[in-house]
């Protein structure tokens, strides 16, 4: 299966901010943050339709999110997961003695994962903590 190699960044989106204030346990938060924004050309390379579930894997972990078309593009070669537990499952936790984990600029591989669900924020964090996901 095609594996797409990307540079991953995370950050705030206004949808993330609103959903967070409505409640991180809610479906709205999963829909706002359990996504990866990909450039249309990268979606094509991956051979995926918009809104397909994908698995994102980095040297630090992996997570299933929904691949959507970039809302603030074009940015070929760059993937964007809004800040939240989904992004934090794959970002580089090393602080290199600054105290700041490396939230931006993480090499990742993206592959289609049609039948795997995007977990809710609470379920994802609890499962990761128990080593089940």
């Amino acid at each position: 299966m095609t594996k797409l190699v990307l540079n991953l960044i995370s950050g705030r989106t206004i949808q993330q901010g609103v959903a967070m204030e409505h409640g991180k346990e809610k479906e709205e938060y999963r829909k706002a943050c359990g996504i990866i924004e990909l450039d249309p050309s990268d979606l094509k390379k991956l051979g995926a339709w918009r809104n397909t579930n994908v698995r994102v894997t980095s040297p630090y972990g992996n997570v299933v999110v929904k691949a959507v078309e970039a809302t603030q593009g074009p940015h070929p070669g760059l993937g964007y997961i809004p800040m939240g537990p989904w992004a934090n499952s794959v970002i580089n936790p090393n602080t290199y003695s600054t105290g700041m984990p490396t939230f931006k600029g993480v090499p990742v591989e993206v592959e289609i994962a049609l039948n795997e669900p995007v977990l809710s924020s609470i379920e994802l964090v609890q499962k990761k903590c128990r080593g089940e996901a």
């Binding site: 901010g17 609103v18 991180k24 939240g84 934090n88 970002i91 936790p93 105290g99 490396t102």
Partner: protein, 439 residues
């Protein structure tokens, strides 16, 4: 009839808008509507009214479920956990008032805790850079009245600080910038074509993580020295052109955000941005400001600063204040397993820390004080819901330009709920007794 409360402070982002109007029901108990706020600020006010809100503390049971406990039991658990720990971490502090922070620091001093705030995953690198090279800054009022060159470097205020541009930086008519945005040249440096970038006069779509190179190139271009054909994906002609425009302004400002603080060069990016500001001051007046996230993360830095001398990562475990980001910072401590309990207030590390840190957190005795249900509260051993600061209780907050603004109370909290400050004061009293007994 409803009542309208005017001049309400928005407790969401560091812009700390102070012109909100909140319509409350006749008995003053329910928020009916919120005016002037951005969509996130309005959501914050309206969510406080949610019917499914947790109003009593909950303790995690061995099977992972949660059982309701009283505030007395919650105070007892928290005080004992902190008093019996060798090196507790007290993290968060950015979504609460300065008064509550101060009580929290008193507890930390007694139990020898490490106090760290959300700057550790936000503008911590900025604070390091400011200590290294200083900072020529200003207030947002000066930006509104004077700025004719505005740079947004690695930040996206359209999404993260939605009213920043309309209240201060781009659109308002100021005393000297009396034509509003027509007076101002807007630059955006971002690897994506963000909604902010779409509004800019000049957008530099930089290669991600190459901010240090581009900042250096700007410093070179300002002096009209030699540059290679492209730097960080930007043709040199564009850099020279931008440098001339920046130099020709009367008052310039660089706003910067997570794009520079969280990329690999971290504090060195900010060092260089501050030095660029310094260099530009040889030609015109230039300032630089961090786009702070939480509404009172700046206040946490201020209170820690005047009490202990350091803005975050303060280690009190040896009986005096030590500071060494990389060693006394939350993520390093958690990942290395150097703390034996965690107290979180006014932040959500469960959602915003790398998962490896969250895993360590979930294995330790822990208390999360938060009005919302969050990934943190759902892995903590005890969740203490409290009143919303800025909605149900007032308190002092600091805007991103270090201007203190008093937040206002709009409605009462649900009956019997404590505020951050009340809960902390009760824990403080109990900790004092326990520490006395230890001696």
């Amino acid at each position: 009839m409803t009542k309208t409360i005017t001049d309400v402070i928005c407790p969401f982002c560091g812009t700390l808008c102070d012109d909100l109007e909140v319509e409350v029901s006749d008995d003053g108990k329910k928020i009916e509507d919120v005016y002037n706020a951005c969509v996130i600020g309005a959501a914050k006010f309206l969510h406080s009214q949610a019917s499914d809100r947790v109003t009593r503390p909950r303790m995690q049971q061995p099977d992972g479920s949660y059982k309701e406990v009283s505030y007395d039991e919650a105070v007892e658990y928290t005080a004992k956990m902190l008093a019996n720990s060798k090196k507790p971490l007290m993290y968060g502090w950015s979504s609460t008032s300065c008064e509550a922070q101060s009580v929290g620091h008193e507890i930390a001093e007694q139990v020898g805790a490490i106090v760290d705030n959300t700057a550790t995953v936000c503008h911590g690198s900025t604070l390091i850079a400011v200590q290294d090279v200083g900072i020529p800054s200003c207030t947002l009022g000066e930006v509104k009245n004077r700025a004719d060159r505005v740079i947004f470097w690695g930040c996206n205020p359209c999404h993260a600080h939605p009213r920043h541009m309309s209240r201060y930086s781009i659109f308002p008519r100021g005393f000297f910038a009396n034509k509003g945005h027509k007076n101002r040249k807007m630059f955006v440096i971002d690897p994506r074509v963000t909604d902010t970038a779409k509004m800019a006069d000049y957008h530099f779509q930089i290669e991600q993580g190459r901010d240090y190179e581009l900042l250096s190139a700007f410093r070179v271009a300002i002096r009209n020295e030699w540059l290679p054909d492209t730097v960080a994906g930007i043709p040199k002609e564009k850099i020279y052109e931008a440098a001339e425009i920046l130099k020709s302004g009367r008052f310039g400002i660089i706003f910067f955000g997570m794009g520079v603080t969280q990329s690999l060069s971290k504090n060195h990016n900010i060092d260089n941005a501050i030095m660029l500001t310094k260099d530009l001051n040889e030609f015109t007046k230039f300032s630089i400001m961090a786009m702070r996230g939480h509404y009172n993360v700046t206040g946490s830095g201020q209170v820690l600063g005047w009490q202990f001398g350091f803005p975050y990562c303060v280690d009190l475990s040896r009986g005096f204040a030590r500071y060494n980001p990389g060693e006394t910072s939350s993520n390093d401590l958690l990942r290395r397993g150097e703390v034996d309990s965690v107290f979180v207030l006014g932040s959500d590390p469960g959602a915003h820390f790398p998962i490896s840190s969250v895993k360590k957190f979930s294995e330790l005795p822990s208390v999360a004080v938060d009005p919302h249900i969050t990934p943190t509260t759902e892995v903590a051993k005890l969740h203490v819901p409290v009143a919303f600061v800025g909605v149900e209780v007032g308190g002092n907050c600091y805007r991103m330009d270090n201007v203190p603004i008093e937040a206002r109370k709009v409605v009462d909290p649900p009956e019997g709920m404590l505020t951050d400050e009340e809960f902390l004061s009760r824990v403080n009293k109990r900790v004092k007794e326990l520490m006395e007994a230890k001696k």
